[in-house]
């Protein structure tokens, strides 16, 4: 308060001091304006506003965006001139004085091309950004064009505002209905693709949870690591993409082994509780994120530069990298599932998952199982990072972190500790997130996916595939 009252007289004083100066300028402008008034506006090919001239320009085209060439456009008002439209329909007048102008085309031309108006009023003010250039379009698509004249300028803003917004909302409502059909299959498809990639990440996370009881918050960073390793391969070392992808998976697998040996195995040996271990994963997650940012910077890194050619399958537009990524994801997830259910090691893993102590007693090397699970989990995360980086057109230091909650939801939704559950949960979340934008704003789409999670858990607390557990 005090500051404002103190500064007010100051500002006023400054204004008073400037008064004579302003008056001189005003007189000068008035003096200059007299000869300017006599000069006609000039028809030019291209007009850009400067301190000396304003612009009245536009493009004459029909409702189908076809340019109308050779039509006469007349400017009247403060200055007057005439021009004909160019081959691309453009026309322009450079005007020197501020004031009201009217732009008109022949009514017969307007009728011939189905234009809604044949004349419009505009206001030019050279020094004001919103009035130094007036763009006149006779092909306006809004429905309130019946009046024909006086469609632009201050009048419309106040009186026409209601009908304007009404027309806009009408058209958007109509567009909304018609685009749902066009978008339905495409968004279902992109939802499934995203779900598959989410599934690939979640399976590994779920395996770790199943065997060690640990919810790994740093799993997102393993995904980022895979994508960034692939970026290093393709963009920095200029390797072909498949080689880079294998490199990325190898890096991921190695970090899994390393983590287990230096971090998780010692923690387990010391009987640190899973809650404490979980806190360690949160710390690890933050540390890894900022190491990535330190090494790679804060911008989004593109794994590939080129944009693949697209093709249509029925109502869906897609490209080969996306299809191949989806196939890889399916094959790998099915492979992991087969591995768990049909190999000796897989059975050992499931045994550890069910009851580690009992598995150890029956002769299973629990540590070895956990080690392999960590390697597998991190390798899967790295692979999903590569596929995700290609599908999302880039990977940045925090991509994995932004997906972490979706992974947790998928796992919880599908059933904690079950491999198939993670896949089904991911598909549900992915499809829900992408399909929900048909009806709700885009930035709320993940909320809808998580709402499904809550509803499912209320009905089936163990998740879709989870085993019912007795409490107490």
């Amino acid at each position: 308060m005090e500051k404002q009252t103190a500064s007010f007289p100051r500002a006023r004083w400054r204004f008073l001091r400037r008064m004579p100066c302003l008056m001189i300028v005003a007189v000068g402008i008035a003096a200059m304006a007299v000869p300017v008034q006599a000069q006609a506006a000039e028809a030019v090919a291209v007009c850009n506003p400067t301190a000396q001239n304003g612009c009245v320009n536009g493009i004459l085209q029909d409702a189908g965006k076809q340019p109308v060439a050779g039509a006469t456009v007349t400017l009247s008002g403060a200055e007057s001139a005439q021009t004909t439209t160019a081959d691309d329909g453009t026309w322009a007048f450079a005007v020197e004085s501020d004031g009201e102008y009217t732009v008109a085309i022949d009514e017969s031309v307007a009728e011939q091309y189905g234009l809604t108006a044949s004349s419009m009023d505009v206001t030019i003010e050279k020094n004001s950004f919103d009035k130094q250039r007036a763009v006149v379009r006779f092909d306006r698509t809004t429905n309130d064009a019946a009046s024909g004249t006086d469609m632009q300028g201050d009048g419309t803003n106040s009186t026409g505002a209601d009908s304007d917004s009404k027309a806009a909302s009408d058209s958007s409502a109509a567009g909304f209905g018609s685009t749902i059909g066009a978008r339905f299959w495409q968004q279902l498809y992109s939802g499934v693709i995203f779900g598959l990639m989410l599934g690939l990440m979640s399976v590994g996370m779920n395996l770790v949870y199943g065997t060690t009881g640990l919810s790994s918050f740093s799993h997102g960073e393993q995904v980022t690591l895979g994508g960034l390793a692939c970026y290093v391969g393709t963009q920095l070392l200029h390797w072909p993409l498949p080689v880079s992808a294998v490199f990325a998976v190898a890096v991921g697998a190695f970090t899994g082994l390393l983590q287990n040996e230096v971090l998780w195995a010692p923690l387990r040996r010391r009987h640190v509780g899973t809650m404490q271990q979980m806190i360690v994963t949160i710390g690890l997650s933050m540390a890894m994120q900022y190491i990535f940012q330190f090494l790679f910077g804060g911008d989004i890194k593109g794994i590939t530069r080129s944009i693949p050619d697209t093709f249509d399958i029925g109502p869906i537009t897609t490209d080969w990298p996306t299809v191949i990524s989806a196939l890889i994801a399916i094959v790998v997830i099915v492979g992991v599932s087969m591995f768990l259910y049909h190999t000796r090691f897989g059975r050992a893993t499931r045994a550890v998952s069910d009851n580690a102590a009992l598995a150890a007693v029956s002769g299973i090397d629990v540590e070895q199982v956990v080690r392999i699970v960590w390697i597998l989990s991190c390798a899967l995360a790295a692979l999903s990072g590569v596929l995700l980086g290609i599908y999302l057109n880039g990977i940045s230091w925090n991509t994995g972190a932004t997906l972490l909650l979706l992974m947790f939801s998928s796992v919880t939704l599908g059933g904690l500790g079950t491999a198939n559950g993670a896949l089904v949960g991911s598909l549900v979340i992915g499809v829900m997130a992408d399909m929900s934008t048909l009806v709700i704003p885009d930035d709320m789409r993940y909320a809808s996916a998580l709402a499904i999670l809550i509803i499912v858990l209320l009905i089936r607390p163990q998740g879709i595939f989870g085993k019912q557990q007795r409490v107490g």
Partner: protein, 423 residues
């Protein structure tokens, strides 16, 4: 609403709690020091610098840092402020999704008693931090905060960039005169994005352009990574052209649009994303697309001087001129007022920018010589902006219009200049 924002928020809250605990012991002491430090006359000009070195705006930091170095070098080469070399203190504010980092960077700079703070560039970050700085009577100047709400925000808040009302009007007319009938807008849900979007929508609709997507509710989250459903939705509305208002999200977004079959030769970009994409896309992808950047196109001379500071500009000079001029203006204000404290600088900012008239000069050295002769000056820097108006906005400004060439680099086309509205 967004679940990822919740994580960020949780992190922010935790961090804030930690900071609060850590700050308990020393906060009283630093307050006393702050009050005493800012009101007292001093001849040591300490420049506080807030750069977005990390986060989604990190690509804007190199030109700002280079401009900061260049300005300090030019000032000190000309004899410094009040005869003493300028010293600097800087910190990384990150982006608005890291609110904890915004405030800790601000605290870190404020702890060094700066005379003046340059930055931050982002409107959202400015909103998070300006009160902390201006309440200590330290003037701050943003080189990139274009939110229309910031006109007259605080007597201690200045900016060398024109508000979005100006750029939006130019961009809106550009879209209209190109004959666009159905416009789709991909905009991120952020102070800057939606503010600029609203101005452009108003302008194009007045000219009869139909906005088919993104008019009001369809904005994406600033941390979004998956743009396929947005691209699908945009393609389904069958637009003639797409306006993209985003920062670093632009690259994956444009790739998604291209994959969905949207014509990438008819894109319109704004100051947040009109930059050199020659390293990101195949040649020719953006050819013919247009962009606007406030300020005049930096001269080759200025760009080469920026490069001489040894900072890798990364292909963009956005906000470099605004940063440079902001620092020079503050230094001149301190020189004119005879003291490098916050209040003196704040009082003299408008005067050295030429609000009261005076002799025109175009470098710190030339202006310093005039000031030493006791003359009123009018600094005309590299941005080509007019003197500060009553809202501490530039009274007049330039908007450059650029067209992308076959190498996906923006090439300067023409400049529009005019007065910045004050109401």
């Amino acid at each position: 609403m967004n679940i990822r924002r919740m994580t960020t928020m949780a992190t922010a809250l935790t961090a804030a709690a930690v900071l609060a605990l850590a700050g308990c012991g020393s906060s009283g002491a630093s307050d006393d020091k702050g009050d005493a430090g800012t009101s007292a006359k001093t001849d040591q000009f300490v420049l506080g610098e807030l750069w977005p070195e990390t986060g989604s705006l990190a690509y804007l930091a190199p030109p700002e840092i280079a401009a900061g170095k260049l300005a300090v070098q030019d000032i000190n080469d000309a004899g410094g402020v009040l005869g003493k070399d300028v010293t600097t203190v800087d910190a990384d504010t990150s982006d608005a999704d890291h609110a904890d980092q915004n405030s800790s960077a601000t605290q870190s700079v404020l702890s060094k008693d700066p005379s003046f703070v340059i930055g931050p560039a982002s409107s959202s970050v400015v909103k998070n931090v300006y009160k902390t700085i201006t309440s200590q009577k330290i003037p701050m100047l943003s080189m990139g905060a274009t939110s229309t709400d910031f006109s007259g925000l605080d007597p201690y808040f200045f900016r060398t960039v024109a508000p979005d009302s100006v750029q939006g009007a130019v961009m809106g007319n550009l879209i209209a005169q190109d004959g666009v009938q159905n416009l789709a807008i991909a905009v991120f849900n952020d102070e800057y994005g939606t503010g600029l979007r609203d101005v452009i929508v108003k302008t194009v609709e007045a000219a009869g352009v139909n906005v088919v997507y993104g008019e009001s509710s369809d904005a994406f989250d600033p941390t979004e990574t998956n743009f396929s459903s947005i691209a699908t939705a945009i393609k389904a509305t069958n637009p003639d052209a797409v306006l993209v208002i985003a920062f670093d999200q632009t690259v994956p977004l444009i790739k998604s649009l291209a994959s969905a079959g949207v014509d990438t030769h008819k894109l319109y970009l704004v100051d947040g994303n009109t930059s050199d994409y020659s390293g990101d896309f195949d040649a020719g992808l953006l050819e013919g697309s247009k962009g606007t950047i406030p300020g005049v196109s930096p001269t080759d001379d200025f760009v080469s001087r920026l490069e001489s500071t040894g900072v890798d500009l990364g292909g963009t000079t956005t906000y470099a001129a605004e940063t440079y001029d902001g620092i020079i203006l503050a230094a001149l204000a301190a020189q004119k007022g005879g003291s490098a404290d916050g209040e003196t600088i704040q009082k003299n900012m408008a005067a050295v920018s030429g609000a009261d008239g005076g002799e025109a000069c175009d470098s710190y050295k030339a202006c310093l010589a005039l000031l030493k002769d006791g003359k009123d000056i009018q600094y005309q820097g590299v941005t080509g902006i007019g003197p500060f108006n009553k809202n501490n906005d530039p009274s007049s400004a330039n908007i450059g219009v650029y067209v992308f060439d076959g190498d996906n680099k923006p090439q300067f086309d023409h400049t529009q200049s005019g007065d910045v509205p004050t109401d």
